[in-house]
C-alpha cells in the first residue's frame, strides 16, 4: 500500500510516545487481567476447607432465612444474594455486603460480607465471613492498572491510559501498513536481534489486533461512562436519564412491601428454567426488597456457552413478588438485536461468550498482550542503544545513553516486580492463613512491598543484572504456588491445604507452567547478560561511565 512516508513518520512518533507512556501500566493490566479471567478458580484455590457455618442449608429454607435476616438486619434488604449453586468460592446460601459510608460503588475490597447463619433454635444471626479477597485485589490491579483502589480518580487515570493505548494501536497499524504485505508473518530470526523483536512485536500486535481494539475501547468506556451519561442526560435525555433506567414501579404503588409475600426462590428458579430451559441459575440477587420497585436479578450460565453480559453470567430480571420475568434484555438466547449488541461489548471484554475454551484463549491473548507492551519498551530501548563501531574508534564499548538505562531499569522493575508480587501474594493466602489477623491487608502489603522492592533493585543493580535476578525470583515465587499445594498434600498435618476442586488444581498447573516458562527465560537472559555482546544495555559488563568505556578499549571485539 502506498502511504506517504511523512505520514508514517508522524504515526510512528505517535506510536512511540503513546506506547512508552502506557506500556508498563498496560503490562500490569494484562497480566492481572489474565489471572482475573479465572477469578472464581483462584478463590477456590485460596479458600481454606474450614466448614462454613451455614453450609448445607437447603434452598427450601431460603424464604424463612430471608424474612428473619431482613427483620434483624435492615441493611440486607437493600441488596442480598441467594446462592442457588453452592461452590468452593460461594459456599453459603444467603449473604449480603455492607459497604463503608462514602465508599466508591466499585470498591469491593473494603466491603464486608455477612452470612445468614441459622441456629438450632430457629433464630438467624449474621456472621461476618472471612472470605479471601486475594482474587479481588488482583482484579483491582487489573481494573486500575496497578493502583491499589478502584476509585473515581484512579479509574480516570486508567481511562487516559486506555485512550493512549487505543492511539498506540491505531498508529501502530498505520506504521505497519506500507510493509504489511511484504513483512506479514516474516520472522527474521538472526543476528539482528532488534529486527527479530520487531517482527515478533508486529506479528503479535497484528494477530491480536481485534482483541486489543476491544479492550482499549471497552476499558475507556468503563472508565468514563459516568461523565458521558452526565453530559448525555442534558444533551439527549432532558435530565430524565435516571427514569429510563428505573424498573417500572409495581402496581401496588409506593407503599412498602411485605417480604414474606415474595415467591420462594425454589419456585423462581423453576419458573426461569421453564422460560429458558438452557439457562442454569446460580445466584439470585435481590435489590431493594422493601422498596417501591423491588428487583430480582437471576444470574446464571447458559448451558451452551452463549454470550453472557457479565462474568457472573447472563441475567433474567424477575419481579420477586410475582415471580414474573420482567425483562429478558440480558438473558442469553432471549435478546433482541440491539440487546445482543449491548451484551456483546461486555462479553467481548470479559471473555464470557464461549465457555472455558474461550477463557483460555483470552488468557493466552492477555499474556501475549503483556508481552506485546513489554517488547515495545524493549524496542524503544534497543533502537536507542549504542553499538560499538570497529572502524571508528577501535571498537571501544560505548556508554549507553542515560535515558535508555533508566527506561530499561523501570521496565524490568515494574513488569517483573508485578509478576513477583502477584505470585508471592497468592502463596501468602495459604502460608499466612490463621497466622495473621488481617490477611487481606497482608495481601496488599506483600504485593506492593515486592513490587517496589523490585523496582528499587532494578535501578540499584542496573537493568541487565536485575532482569536475571528478578526472573529467577519470579520463577521461584510462581513455582511456590503449586509447591505449596504439594506440601499440603504430602503433609496433611501442616496448616496448609490442597483443594481437589478442579479449578484449584488448574491454578496449580497453570502456575507450574508459568513458573517453568519464567525459569527458561531466566536462563536465556542470564546467558545474554553475562556472556553476550557488551555494547548493549543488557550486558552486565557494559561500562557505565566514560572512563570505564576508555578502559575497555580494544577488548570490544570479543
Amino acid at each position: 500500500m502506498k502511504v506517504p512516508s511523512e505520514l508514517i513518520r508522524i504515526y510512528k512518533a505517535v506510536h512511540t510516545w503513546t506506547g512508552i507512556l502506557t506500556g508498563m501500566a498496560l503490562f500490569i493490566a494484562f497480566y492481572a487481567g489474565a489471572i482475573t479471567l479465572f477469578k472464581e478458580q483462584l478463590v477456590a484455590w485460596a479458600t481454606p476447607p474450614a466448614a462454613s457455618p451455614a453450609r448445607g442449608v437447603p434452598l427450601s429454607a431460603a424464604p424463612e432465612l430471608i424474612n428473619q435476616t431482613i427483620a434483624r438486619h435492615s441493611e440486607a434488604a437493600r441488596e442480598l444474594e441467594i446462592h442457588v449453586a453452592r461452590s468452593a468460592s460461594a459456599p453459603d446460601l444467603l449473604t449480603w455486603k455492607v459497604h463503608d459510608e462514602g465508599a466508591d460503588e466499585h470498591d469491593q475490597l473494603s466491603a464486608r460480607l455477612f452470612v445468614a447463619t441459622p441456629a438450632s433454635d430457629g433464630t438467624v444471626s449474621a456472621v461476618q465471613a472471612e472470605r479471601t479477597k486475594l482474587a479481588e485485589l488482583i482484579d483491582v490491579l487489573h481494573r486500575v492498572v496497578g493502583l491499589p483502589v478502584d476509585s473515581d480518580l484512579n479509574r480516570s487515570f486508567m481511562g487516559v491510559v486506555a485512550i493512549l493505548y487505543f492511539l498506540a494501536l491505531a498508529s501502530g497499524l498505520v506504521t505497519l501498513l506500507p510493509s504489511l504485505i511484504k513483512d506479514l508473518f516474516a520472522l527474521r530470526v538472526g543476528p539482528n536481534l532488534k529486527r527479530m523483536w520487531l517482527d515478533a512485536h508486529n506479528i503479535v500486535g497484528l494477530g491480536s489486533f481485534p482483541f486489543h481494539l476491544i479492550m482499549a475501547l471497552t476499558a475507556a468506556v468503563f472508565a468514563f461512562h459516568d461523565p458521558i451519561y452526565l453530559v448525555q442526560n442534558t444533551l439527549i435525555h432532558d435530565g430524565k436519564l435516571a427514569a429510563a433506567f428505573r424498573p417500572p414501579a409495581a402496581p401496588g404503588g409506593a407503599q412498602p412491601r411485605d417480604p414474606s409475600t415474595m415467591v420462594p426462590p425454589e419456585q423462581i428458579v423453576a419458573r426461569v428454567k421453564a422460560e429458558a430451559p438452557d439457562f442454569e441459575p446460580t445466584v439470585l440477587r435481590y435489590m431493594r426488597i422493601k422498596g417501591p420497585n423491588p428487583t430480582l436479578f437471576v444470574f446464571g450460565h447458559d448451558r451452551h456457552g452463549a454470550l453472557e453480559q457479565r462474568a457472573l453470567g447472563g441475567i433474567a430480571m424477575v419481579d420477586p413478588y410475582t415471580g414474573r420475568i420482567t425483562s429478558t434484555a440480558y438473558l442469553p438466547g432471549h435478546q433482541s438485536a440491539s440487546e445482543i449488541v449491548l451484551a456483546s461489548v461486555f462479553a467481548l471484554h470479559f471473555g464470557s461468550y464461549g465457555g472455558a475454551p474461550l477463557k483460555w484463549m483470552y488468557f493466552l491473548l492477555a499474556l501475549l498482550g503483556a508481552w506485546l507492551v513489554y517488547s515495545g519498551n524493549l524496542l524503544w530501548i534497543e533502537s536507542r542503544g549504542r553499538k560499538a563501531k570497529q572502524r571508528v574508534d577501535g571498537g571501544a564499548i560505548p556508554v549507553q545513553r542515560r535515558d535508555t538505562q533508566l527506561m530499561a531499569s523501570a521496565t524490568i522493575g515494574v513488569c517483573l516486580g508485578a509478576i513477583c508480587g502477584i505470585s508471592l501474594t497468592i502463596c501468602a493466602a495459604k502460608w499466612l492463613h490463621g497466622r495473621v489477623d488481617d490477611l487481606n491487608s497482608w495481601h496488599r502489603i506483600l504485593y506492593y512491598l515486592t513490587f517496589f522492592t523490585a523496582i528499587a533493585w532494578s535501578f540499584y543493580r542496573g537493568a541487565a543484572r536485575a532482569s536475571v535476578d528478578l526472573l529467577r525470583l519470579a520463577t521461584c515465587l510462581t513455582l511456590a504456588i503449586p509447591l505449596t499445594s504439594l506440601i499440603a498434600a504430602i503433609l496433611p498435618a501442616s496448616a496448609l491445604w490442597a483443594s481437589r476442586d478442579l479449578g484449584a488444581v488448574s491454578v496449580d498447573l497453570t502456575a507450574a507452567a508459568l513458573g517453568l516458562t519464567f525459569g527458561v527465560l531466566a536462563r536465556r537472559t542470564a546467558r545474554r547478560v553475562y556472556g553476550g555482546r557488551r555494547d548493549s544495555v543488557w550486558s552486565a559488563h557494559a561500562p557505565v561511565t566514560e572512563s570505564a568505556a576508555a578502559d575497555s578499549q580494544g577488548v570490544a571485539a570479543e
Binding site: 505520514l7 508522524i10 487505543f166 448525555q232 435525555h237 429510563a244 449491548l342
Partner: protein, 90 residues
C-alpha cells in the same frame, strides 16, 4: 507536505472529536426512539468513545493543524445541524 502541528492537531482531535461524538450519539438517540429506553441510553453512551477515539486517531492525517480544526469544525456543524433539524421536525 504534512505539517506536524502536534499541539493543534491533538487539541482539535480531543475537543472537536469529543463534541462530534456526542452530537452523533444524540442523532442516534433521536432516530432510535423505538428502542427500549435503557437500551437506547446505553447504546448512545457506548458509541461516544469509539467515535471520539477514531477521530482522534485520524486527526494526524490532516495536512495541518488549521485544516484539522476547520474540517472537524465543519463536521461538528453538519451533525449539530442535522440534530437541530431532526428535532424541529419531530
Amino acid at each position: 507536505m504534512i505539517q506536524r502541528d502536534w499541539l493543534s492537531k491533538t487539541l482539535a482531535g480531543t475537543l472537536l472529536g469529543l463534541t462530534f461524538a456526542f452530537a452523533c450519539s444524540a442523532v442516534f438517540a433521536h432516530f432510535a426512539a423505538s428502542l427500549a429506553p435503557p437500551i437506547r441510553a446505553q447504546l448512545a453512551m457506548w458509541m461516544v468513545i469509539p467515535i471520539w477515539l477514531c477521530v482522534l486517531s485520524c486527526v494526524y492525517l490532516f495536512r495541518s493543524g488549521k485544516r484539522a480544526w476547520l474540517w472537524l469544525g465543519f463536521a461538528n456543524f453538519v451533525v449539530a445541524g442535522l440534530l437541530a433539524f431532526a428535532r424541529v421536525l419531530s
